[in-house]
Amino acid sequence: MQLKNKKWTLDEFMAVRKEVLKSWPTGNDPLLDLDESVERLRKLPAHKNFALKLIEAKLQNRTMLQPRAGVALVPDHIDLLQHLEAAGADFLPSTVDSYTRQNRYQEAEEGIRVSEMQGRSLLNGFPVVNHGVKNCMKVLDNVNVPLQARHGTPDGRLLAEIIHAAGWTSNEGGGISYNIPYAKSISLADSIYYWQYCDRLVGYYEDHGISINREPFGPLTGTIVPPSIAIAVGIIEALLAAEQGVKNITVGYGQCGNIVQDVASIHMLEELTNEYLTKKGYKDMFITTVFHQWMGGFPKDEAKASGLIAMASTVAQLAGATKMITKTPYESIGVPTKEINQIGIKNSKMVVSLLKDQRFPDSDKLHEEEEQIRKEVHCLLDKIYEVGNGDLAIGTVKAFELGIIDVPFAPSKQTMNLILPARDNEGCVRILDFGNLGFTEEIKAFHRKKLEERAKAEGRDITFQMTVDDIYAVSNGELIGRPKGFKTYENN
């Protein structure tokens, strides 16, 4: 295989498909006949189609809600999802367990067995592949809103086949966003290739008149990721997906914490994704945005976690995000019970419905932050196309190799892991160490200036300790990790 950003021919796709379906016994299901699946999905009512419901959603003013949720066994999983629907979830997930994510189906099987034996879920998600198409259909039959698989699987090809055949009309992920934060040693060329397959599968459905949504995973490592890096990755994955025939894409972003920066990011995420898709000639695209409530370490106290959840909801709604992924008061502790998951939804729902007729007003401050992000994203994408000689897939692989694009705190060896972020004195995420990041000197100077403001206010140097303090800060109830004894007003 020679990776390039080019729509796979049907033959190429079908040849690989044969191998994919052999990778685990559930791939051998007659329900995986593509043409039959197309016909089955054609009969799916519109309110269960993720893509169609998103089109409807965008016309409304309110941000739609989707929780994360998944347990080992089918009946429990259905019960869980029904609880979340009852609490007001507009879209439902099936969060997939970590063994499946690493294609370790044998261990997932063991997890199912022990869970059945002990009567409690020992897996941290729903093992989609092991359960197979029929069980996934059963899950969809028992809910009244669209279903999406949320996972973190570098090679999620069989998973994609199974969920779409079962009528789940959205798949989260992408060749970058489901590799860099979720794997250690899988090459980026491989994961991009795997995700071309997943996108091509969706393209097949689209070619046959079935709308299916795709959602790049915006937050990446969830840990003070600078907005322009997250947005650039989202745009790349949107472009790669569009090439394979995907039409309905939701680009994502994880809350950073400074409200102006967060609103600017959601605006730029949408604007720039559309800009690049248009510029590269993709037509009839339908782009929506998803805002992830704070993806880093949560405070332990449940009331504090609730405060953070509602604050995030305020920002998502004011920014005009189409969808929001909700967290729960148990976030820092462990996978939530269905009741606790409901709390996160209701808490969020209250806020977005209260504020549905309101938007964050235009202001100079907002425009400045937007312009900064615009400049940075353009800069990164220009460099990526450049090193790829115009091919985005090749450019992405090279850019990661060279550190031109780099993701902080990633487990993966496919990213240089040189850049270090830290917050400025108003809590905006900036970059402290650029590594080889493909930024101009002008952009770098801006980041340095912003961090120097903070360093001065705190009376200390700009070091990794700032980053460490910022990583802990939110779980300690602060946004900026100030040094001990710091008093704001001494600097006013």
């Binding site: 367990d97 970590s98 063994y99 994510r101 690493q102 370790r104 261990e107 063991e110 997890g111 022990v114 409690r120 879920s121 020992l122 897996l123 941290n124 973190g152 934060p181 979720y182 794997a183 250690k184 040693s185 490592t221 840990t223 880093g296 370490g297 332990k300 148990y330 820092s332 502790i333 462990g334 996978v335 939530p336 019970t337 606790i340 705190f409 990633a410 487990p411 990794f464 460490v468 990583i471 802990y472």
Partner: protein, 134 residues
């Protein structure tokens, strides 16, 4: 300089805490051997043998800790690491569970110290010091 092996066990990719643990223990003067995320029991044990470590500090964040840690003490003994200390911490089980029970399960598996969510590496520096006899 005493050696401590750290890492994240199983199919777990949570890398942030691991990076901070490395940074903190190094700052405290230990020889930190980091096997990183997605590490098997063998990865930890081999590193401990190679560096004559006194302590293996296992992180498990993603919930499968109970499945991943089973048999680790036995494997250590088979490898001749008879006196090695085993710590485990992070979010070691799925969901919110009664910690006394959880602790018991992991102690029964042969772990010397077992920590609930929210205990950071800073919180256990004194314990490590005492256990390593400095």
């Amino acid at each position: 300089m005493k050696s401590i092996v750290i890492g994240v066990i199983g199919a777990d990719v949570h890398a942030v805490g691991n990076r901070i643990i490395e940074y903190t223990l190094t700052r405290e003067g230990y020889n930190v051997v980091n096997v990183g995320v997605l590490s098997s029991q063998e990865d930890f044990i081999n590193a401990a043998i190679e560096t004559s470590a006194h302590l293996i500090l296992v992180s498990s964040l993603y919930g499968h800790g109970e499945l991943d840690c089973k048999g680790m003490r036995e494997k250590c003994q088979e490898a001749g690491l008879d006196d090695i200390l085993l710590y485990v911490g992070g979010n070691i089980v799925v969901g919110k569970q009664d910690f006394q029970e959880v602790e018991k399960r992991f102690k029964d598996m042969g772990f010397n110290r077992v920590y609930p969510p929210g205990v950071t590496i800073e919180d256990v520096l004194d314990t490590i010091k005492a256990d390593l006899g400095d």
